[in-house]
Symmetry: C2
Subunit: 240 residues, 2 copies
């Protein structure tokens, strides 16, 4: 059985404006590879309700699981929860259990609940909450969509909560052979080998650094013995 597929939707202008570098995509990609979920697509969209809703509906229809990151805080640009409700065609309002979690957190901190903070208790109808051990404000799961925070420490904690609930497949294993020859030299035999080992994926990632050029050939699959066999063949081919 093929591994389940997933997509990620990163919401907000922070990365699109070049202000910061992505870290959540990279973290999730590694976690999914480890647990046998096939991350097929990632989209970064701006804080634009129409773009967010369209992307949500597109991705949740074409993948087993969707993870979103960003836009669930208390400020005016945090519109993810409302967009998820719109995408699913359900209502959204402050929910008592979410409000209680926030209230307890602010009580411990000696902070006051206010209108902005209460926004973080707005949960689409039918969703279940995702625990936030870092800063209390919960994420939520609706259908196959898991809505998480953008702050990396919170995102990572939420991924740790949700990951065991996903039906993972077999972990995707990989081995890499670094070849200091032009891709054009190795492409022919590599393509033939990839065709022969049709159950594995062969990626060729060229590099060029300090005058040395070549490619990292990565062989991926779920069967370690098959990967070993392919790597043995690959090494021999590259010595010819």
């Amino acid at each position: 059985m093929p591994n389940p597929t997933a997509a990620m939707l990163v919401i907000g202008d922070e990365i699109l404006s070049g202000r910061t570098r992505d870290s959540n995509m990279h973290f999730l990609a590694q976690e999914f590879t480890r647990t046998g979920v096939d991350l097929r697509e990632v989209r970064f969209v701006a804080d634009d309700p129409d773009a967010i809703v369209a992307a949500l509906n597109d991705l949740r229809a074409s993948h087993d699981t969707v993870v979103t990151s960003g836009g669930i805080g208390p400020t005016h640009d945090d519109i993810t929860a409302d967009c998820v409700a719109r995408a699913f065609g359900v209502g959204i309002d402050v929910r008592e259990d979410a409000r209680a979690i926030l209230q307890a957190h602010y009580d411990r901190q000696g902070n006051q609940m206010n209108e902005a903070r209460l926004r973080m208790a707005r949960i689409p109808d039918g969703a279940t909450l995702i625990d936030n051990p870092v800063s209390a404000a919960p994420g939520f799961t609706l259908g196959n969509v898991h809505v998480m925070a953008g702050v990396p420490a919170v995102f990572q904690a939420m991924v740790a909560t949700v990951l065991p609930t996903l039906k993972g497949g077999e972990p995707l294993l990989s081995q890499t052979l670094r070849i200091e020859r032009g891709e054009g030299d190795i492409a022919g035999p590599l393509g033939a080998l990839a065709a022969e080992f049709g159950d594995l994926q062969f990626g060729s990632y060229p590099f060029q650094k300090n005058g040395v050029y070549g490619a990292n050939v990565v062989v991926r699959g779920t069967d370690g013995a098959r990967i070993d066999a392919a790597m043995t063949r690959l090494s021999r081919l590259m010595d010819e």
Copy 2:
């Protein structure tokens, strides 16, 4: 007049598998911000022809400019050029000018042309070539789609070639105020200020590090004087 919009399509399994971290998206986002092109969306898709074609057609219809990265080398997993031809409904074949560029490069290197290398001279009908000063194999432009290599050094060189040909708008300026208070405290006044300065964008990016929490509030726009005015008001609000 609003700045022109752009989208980016990153093709390949390398980042989706968690093997490497993105750098081309980050580079392009910074270049576009500097030159007044509004990067609205970025998609990462796997080496899957149907997914690539669908993303290309979606993005080129909804943005002024599309930049792709990856999948134009000589190996079996390099399928971008064929996918672009399919998306545009045009033919694709080895083109003489592209072949001549490659041949001259291999002659200089003392390498042989072969079937795999010749794949890199396959250019969709009607495209114009994008120079590759690093490793010769050209990118190409078809309609509003600019097809570039995934190797960062080559990608950056191709961006440098194409960027001056794009109709940029006014550079997007920004100023950041670091506020060591919870977002929930500042969200109210921040939202009111954002509504008042409707010509600017206000982003709030929370952080949590070594027990300190707060938010970086970023004010963006094309009018430096307006941003100054907003920042002055913001600073005063945050001192209250």
